[in-house]
Amino acid sequence: MGFVNDTLSKIDGIEWYYIVGIIIFVGLFIGVVIHTYTIPKKDLIRFKSLIFEQEEGEKQ
């Protein structure tokens, strides 16, 4: 908390905020991309088709 308070009490280094933001985003992005490309194809096909399954449970 001391570090956070110290960082937020002065403007020094604030130019790094968006650089840090972009780095966080790039990390998140890479993680999500890796995740999505490791989903088995059969699962993806099932997820995509979920909304068509028996009209989502309506009695035929």
Binding site: L8, S9, K10, I11, I14, E15, Y17, Y18, G21, I22, I24, F25, L28, F29, V32, V33, H35, T36, Y37, T38, I39, D43, L44, R46, F47, K48, S49, L50, I51, F52, E55, E56, G57, E58, K59
Partner: protein, 718 residues
């Protein structure tokens, strides 16, 4: 496997559909009225309750929260039950949500027309209504999360992620932006001031667009587009990538509404950087939507609902490319404070949100009422009329924006402003305003056709309020280790944990922007000559806000040559430290007023000029389109409220002396008498307690504190 029987709640969907139809007609009609009032100011009739400044927020709030909001709830409640294979969590929550939301809309319209407003765009509603919104929104969220928890389908379909992000995003935005100090039943001041208030407000304003007008509609797109076209979404992977990217990036982009304004450079740079990055996830959504129609374009030819969805997704792509471009400083210098922004928002509102709503309803209503659409021909007519209306609405406004901007920055060979009188530039674009009315009228006509088609379809069909359904019971999978799932897939079936992660992703951008603005003193350099508003000026400011003057006048001189030459010194952060709320505005139909009290500025005018201007604007500014405000001369200012306001301001940190609230009315009367005497010398006999006196005092305060030392304005302050 056990198959469970249950019922879908269709009654709540029907209720929100009917509310959408009613409020849609009202919202668009009010929009037409404000467009007419803008072009033909006589239509304001000199009546405060229907003046442009008060009606315009009714239009924006009605479109966003009444028309689009009700349609969103209808679409979410229908699809949520189907993809989760469960009835809504609690019927009563749904009913409370529905009726409270309609009550809020009525209260909003009445209070805004009566002049009760916070003065913050798209967040104008006063604190008691803010509380009601919070309750209604929590009912919606609790119902949604409860349904996710009791669902029968293990995987949470992508549409529901967007709905969850909508709930969490709007909750964060509404709570943070609505922290205000009530000083009476329908009057409050935000706890933030000046630049801080601006950052919070546009963080809210931009993300209200994101989380009320975009994320829920992307969710609806992921459900209704595949359903209407009969094809699954193009790429489920892309839906995951663009979901996380979009919700993370959006929250950082708000400050692009404040470029070249009194805000630290680092905040502006953050806004620009993340706005540009937003193109990628936004276009991910657009591409996923359009590519879903691969092999189904023949259906688009036949199905008016699909046509609307195609228009909607195309407009979404256009608007999400245009938005980041408008956040580039060089483009923003043109687009901000001109009609470009109005055109941009209407492309998004009319084509993206409107298109998705119409497309969704043309599929949903016949399905819900188990009958064919009354008339496909009428629906096609609606499509073409609405499309033409959008074009006739937006193109003239782009034209108007560029024309006005070119005129404002035009110099003579001698280096003087070619059009020093602001009104010259407004008059030049009036023909575009007339064409815009035609565009709006066409869009409204299309809506009436849609309304008739919907009502005929509804009356021909019958609703099964509790629709029987069945689905296998959910299999308990246990922990991630037990089920052997990857982290994200495990997360995708853990609704609450998923929601917490969404909350974290959403919070980062807001925290990084807002907390340093509050904590770091050097972000807000103060100016020693800037003093708090006197009781008279504060009252005048409240009347200014109440009448929605910020809808046409900004209070922010940007450091651009053609602005400083026209108005005077550019605006500094320290000038606004006592402004609860800030009033920088977003559109200039009239001139900027930040230097209305700065002697030497073209916008400085005498008291008698202001008096005559309020009574009959054309008498002092030929061909002015500002409506007359004769009621300011008739209405008595609420002087008795002044002590409470001073106490409130003191609580917010404005340095009035202790006990000043007890002297406030005497101070008010003494200052008001001076202006009344000044007017008397000019031949106008008026009581010092009238509203117009307070507004004149407020206008003479604007920029006065930074007038050059020794100027008459500065001396008058001593």
């Amino acid at each position: 496997m056990e198959v469970q029987k249950f019922n879908y709640d269709n009654a709540i969907v029907r209720n929100f559909i009917l509310a959408t139809l009613v409020w849609g007609a009202v919202a668009l009609l009010v929009g037409l009225v404000v467009a007419l009032e803008l072009a033909f100011p006589a239509l304001n009739l000199g009546i405060e309750y229907i003046s442009f400044g008060r009606v315009r927020p009714v239009h924006t709030n009605a479109v966003i929260f009444a028309f689009i909001g009700n349609a969103m709830f209808a679409g979410v409640y229908y699809s949520l039950q189907r993809v989760l294979k469960a009835r809504l969590f609690n019927d009563m929550l749904g009913k409370v949500h529905f009726w409270l939301w309609q009550l809020i809309i009525v209260f909003a319209a009445v209070t805004l027309l009566a002049g009760f407003t916070t003065g913050k765009e798209y967040a104008e509603l006063e604190w008691p209504i803010d509380l009601l919104i919070a309750v209604a929104w929590l009912c919606f969220g609790a119902n949604m999360i409860g349904t996710v928890v009791k669902r029968r389908e293990k995987h949470i379909y992508t549409a529901v992620w967007w709905y969850l992000a909508t709930f969490i995003g709007v909750t964060i935005l509404h709570v943070v932006n609505s922290i205000e100090l009530p000083v009476s039943f329908l009057k409050s001041y935000p706890i933030y001031a000046g630049a801080q208030d601006a950052v919070v407000q546009w963080w809210y304003g931009h993300n209200a667009v994101a989380f009320f007008l975009t994320t829920p509609f992307l969710g609806l797109m992921y459900y209704y587009l595949p359903k209407a076209s009969g094809r699954p979404i193009y790429s489920y992977q892309l839906s995951i990538i663009h979901f996380w990217s979009l919700i993370f990036l959006y929250m950082w982009a708000g400050p692009h509404h404040l470029l070249y304004q009194s805000l630290p450079d680092w905040v502006q740079a953050l806004g620009v950087t993340f706005s540009i990055m937003l193109i990628a996830p936004s276009w991910g959504g657009m591409i996923n939507g359009l590519m879903t129609l691969r092999g189904a374009w023949d259906k688009v030819r036949e199905d008016p609902g699909l046509k609307f969805m195609v228009i909607a997704i195309t407009a979404y792509g256009m608007a999400t490319f245009e938005g980041p471009m408008m956040s580039l400083k060089s483009v923003n210098a043109v687009s901000h404070f001109t009609d470009w922004t109005i055109a941009h928002t209407h492309i998004a509102g009319m084509a993206w949100n409107g298109g998705m709503i119409f497309g969704m309803f043309y599929w949903l209503v016949p399905k819900l009422f188990k009958t064919p659409l009354h008339s496909k021909k009428l629906a096609n007519t609606h499509f073409w009329i609405a499309t033409l209306g959008i074009l006739l609405f937006a193109i003239p406004l782009y034209w108007a924006a560029i024309t006005q901007w070119l005129m404002l920055r035009e110099y003579t060979p001698d280096g003087l402003l070619a059009y020093p009188i602001f009104m010259e530039t407004t008059i030049r674009i009036l023909p575009m305003y007339h064409i815009r009315i035609l565009g709006g009228a066409l869009y409204f006509t299309g809506f009436i056709i849609f309304l008739v088609n919907m009502l005929k379809t509804i009356s021909a069909g019958s609703l099964v309020a509790n629709e029987p359904a069945e689905a296998p019971a959910m299999v308990k999978l246990g922990t991630r280790e037990e089920s052997g799932e990857s982290p994200h897939r495990w997360l995708e079936r853990k609704g609450v944990r998923f929601a917490i992660l969404v909350f974290i992703a959403l919070s980062i951008g807001g925290i990084v922007e807002i907390i340093p603005m509050m904590k770091v003193q050097s972000n807000i350099p103060t100016i020693s000559t800037v003093t708090p508003y006197t009781p008279l000026e504060l009252t005048g400011r409240d009347i200014y806000i109440s009448n929605g003057c910020y809808n046409c006048h900004s209070q922010q001189v940007r450091p651009l040559r053609f602005e400083t030459d026209r108005y005077g010194e550019y605006s500094k952060i320290g000038e606004f430290v006592y402004d609860h709320p800030f009033q920088w505005g977003s559109r200039r139909t009239g001139p900027d007023l930040a230097r209305a009290g700065y002697l030497g500025s073209s916008t400085y005018k005498t008291s008698i000029w202001h008096f005559n201007h309020f009574m009959k604007p054309n008498s002092v500014v030929p061909r002015s389109i500002m409506p007359a405000y004769p009621f300011l001369v008739v209405n008595e200012a609420d002087i008795n409220a002044v002590p409470a306001k001073i106490r409130g301001m003191r609580m917010l940190g404005v340095p009035y002396q202790e006990g000043f609230d007890k002297q406030a009315i005497a101070s008010y009367m003494a200052d008001a008498q001076k202006i009344a005497d000044e007017l008397k010398l000019a031949g106008v006999d008026i009581k010092p307690t009238k509203e117009v006196i307070a507004v004149i005092a407020y206008l003479h305060k604007l920029g006065r504190d930074i007038s050059p030392a020794g100027s008459p304005a500065s001396n008058a302050k001593q």
